[in-house]
């Protein structure tokens, strides 16, 4: 059982020693001659999510076999080969690709491990005003660290802003009672501060083509801000929608990039409407009055603009606020003329840029309801 658990762990299923003991205990109550019954029982103990079922079945089948097939067992138990480096970039020119690949080959230290050189205030402003795509690969890393630091500082500021003021709220019966036990009247009133409900954030990031770079900055920026929010859910989309919330929780920054790599879609063209439709269909419960929905996209849509408008309207009706971020707004001569953008514009509460640090900082200012 211990080896079985170890095999499961190697294949990515979270397994604790308690699971192992439960597994052994469970065997007492199962018909050991009935293989399927043992499978069902052990699955209830070890697999905590439907996504883990496939892995569990594979490992179970490979593990519990007659000893004559020892070789096949050993082979089947070898963990899936994890690529050392990301698959080579596709035939794509453009600094963004180079920048990100270079990022990945760097060491896997966690962000914040090494001492960050603090640029002078004026330098910082200069950095903050430059479009992300204008940095060279070695500079990007530094800019990234600065982004995270700013984000964390902003997170503290946002949380502080939300603490309840000294204004009175409803009467707290319990404390009032205690304060008045010696008298018959309730003279000394105690008030209960209204519990502030935190805001939830949902990010839908376009990762097609050149949007990829901006998306990553935004994703990490907002992820670092997450202590200020009750929940941050992140999705990427191009022609299909992918939930990446869990990917951003990886231990090391390198791991995060590697996981995000898997959802990269360079196939060109975005179907914004379709992606929003999928979001609305699969995760309707994420959007309510206390949710801020942020969509990051340049609006180049190869899908149906009517669909985009319809699905965006559905989101708008339910959300507390809808913000559309478009890096092209960094260009002063930009006008939202594409059909996708034109369809979306009247339906959002705020339309802003996200092409540099200054823009992200300003965004943080509007992240409260």
């Amino acid at each position: 059982m211990v080896r079985f658990a170890a095999a499961l762990r190697r294949h990515g299923t979270p397994v604790t020693p308690e699971h192992v003991t439960d597994g052994v205990r469970a065997l007492q109550y199962l018909d050991l001659a009935d293989r399927e019954e043992v499978r069902r029982g052990l699955r209830a103990v070890f697999a905590g999510r439907p996504e883990d079922f496939a892995t569990f079945d594979r490992v179970f089948d490979a593990f519990w076999r007659p000893t004559t097939e020892a070789d096949r067992v050993a082979e089947a138990l070898a963990p899936p080969a994890l690529p050392e480096h990301a698959p080579p970039g596709l035939e794509r020119a453009g600094r963004e690709t180079l920048a990100l690949d270079a990022w990945q080959d760097e060491g896997d230290g966690e962000v914040g491990d090494e001492p960050v050189s603090v640029p002078a205030a004026s330098e910082l402003e200069a950095v903050a005003a430059r479009d992300f795509s204008t940095f060279s690969p070695d500079q990007l890393d530094e800019v990234f660290r600065i982004t995270l630091r700013i984000a964390r500082r902003l997170a503290r500021r946002i949380s502080r802003r939300r603490r309840p003021s000294a204004r009175r709220g409803r009467i707290d019966l319990r404390r009032t009672l205690r304060a008045n036990l010696t008298r018959g009247e309730l003279i000394d009133l105690r008030y209960r501060r209204r519990k502030r409900k935190k805001v939830r954030l949902v990010l839908l990031c376009d990762v097609s083509g050149s949007m990829d770079l901006y998306s990553r900055f935004l994703l990490q920026f907002l992820f670092a801000l997450q202590s200020a929010f009750s929940r941050v859910e992140t999705f990427t989309f191009s022609v299909r929608l992918t939930r990446v919330t869990e990917h951003l929780r990886a231990r090391s920054y390198r791991e995060v990039l590697r996981r995000l790599e898997a959802v990269r879609d360079w196939s060109g063209g975005t179907k914004i409407g379709e992606s929003l439709a999928e979001f609305n269909r699969r995760w309707p419960a994420l959007v309510d009055r206390r949710t801020i929905v942020i969509i990051l996209s340049d609006g180049w849509d190869t899908g149906d603009p009517d669909l985009l408008a319809a699905e965006l309207l559905r989101i708008k009706r339910r959300a507390g606020r809808v913000i559309w971020l478009n890096p092209l707004l960094g260009n002063p001569s930009y006008e939202p003329l594409t059909r996708g953008m034109a369809a979306a514009l009247p339906l959002v509460h705020r339309f802003a840029a996200a092409h540099n640090l200054a823009a992200l900082r300003e965004l943080a200012g509007s992240l409260s309801l």
Binding site: P14, T16, A26, L30, R43, R49, L181, K197, E246
Partner: protein, 295 residues
């Protein structure tokens, strides 16, 4: 198959719950290992039913803790009946009693509002089934609180003392997967995933729960529900909706499906305006035929 498990399956069927081996196995292990059972699945597939059936099978009480956003310890465990306490103070204010005596009086049993977790701990005869319904609607804080209670099965009320469970309850948690539950909770529980039933199972459920319906209508409406679930709807209907519809059709003494009947009764199945619009458009375009066909 283990006899116990087979017996559980039979008992569940006898309690009018159509079940299969994975469900019976999980219920069996949960009761023997005394671990909480976490049941996840889409809305309306019968998760809550399992807890009710378990209580019936074990011949014990079902105590239900309905979770919602903002659920806190007071609502889960206990609260003092402040209004009653205040009244008591008022009534006795001229009796000349001292503060400490008054305090002792009002912080006693008759003034304690027991909420579900405390109720679950203080059952006298036998362990109850504690159903924590829709735990994904509560937040992580509520989850940690629950886990604390589940580990020791004792609660300290400062004014009264420590209460220890004489019969630790069987715990069943359900979740609609609208939120990712904490790892701590998952680790603590056995896991059961309930999917939409396959065709035969769903027909059996309809016939069991709505016996007035004839066989061919039961098959038709099940086929119809299956097709609906394949459409891209905002609110996918579950087995609960299947049964609601079956009851509605039975009440109308229907014996087969036609467009008029379906159009009148679709409100029992689809609860979202956009879904109904999409459905009507689909029927207007290709009629009922494709929805009733075997895939």
């Amino acid at each position: 198959m283990r006899d116990d498990i087979r017996k559980i399956q039979e008992m569940m069927e006898a309690a009018e719950y159509v079940t299969d081996a994975p469900v019976a196995t999980s219920v069996h292990l949960a009761t023997r290992l005394r671990k909480p059972l976490l049941i996840e699945g889409h809305a309306g597939v019968g998760k809550t039913e399992i807890a009710k059936v378990m209580a019936r099978m074990l011949g014990t009480n079902l105590i239900r803790l309905q979770c919602y956003e903002g659920l806190d310890a007071a609502a889960m465990l206990y609260e003092w009946n402040y209004q009653k306490q205040i009244l008591h103070i008022k009534l006795h204010e001229t009796s000349g009693r001292g503060a400490s005596e008054e305090e002792r009086e009002i912080f006693s049993e008759p003034f304690l509002l027991r909420r579900p977790l405390l109720q679950a701990i203080t059952q006298l005869d036998q362990p109850p089934v504690l159903l924590v319904d829709e735990v994904d609607r509560a937040d992580e804080e509520a989850e940690s609180f629950m886990l604390e209670v589940f580990s020791d099965w004792q609660v300290t009320i400062p004014e009264i003392g420590t209460i220890k469970a004489s019969h630790p309850p069987y715990v069943v948690l359900t979740s609609n997967r609208t939120r990712e539950l904490s790892d701590a909770l998952r680790r603590r529980c056995l896991y059961l995933w309930i999917d939409y039933p396959d065709f035969d199972k769903e027909v059996r459920i309809v016939q069991l729960k709505v016996p007035q319906i004839n066989q061919s209508l039961a098959r038709d409406l099940t086929r119809f529900m299956e097709s609906l679930r394949r459409m891209r709807l905002a609110k996918v209907p579950g087995v609960a909706e299947t049964l609601d519809w079956a009851h509605a059709l039975a009440a109308l003494h229907a014996d087969h499906l036609d467009e008029a009947l379906v159009s009148e009764t679709i409100g029992a199945v689809l609860k979202d305006a956009d879904d109904i619009k999409r459905f009507r458009a689909e029927v207007a375009k290709s009629g009922l035929g494709p929805l009733l066909a075997t895939p």
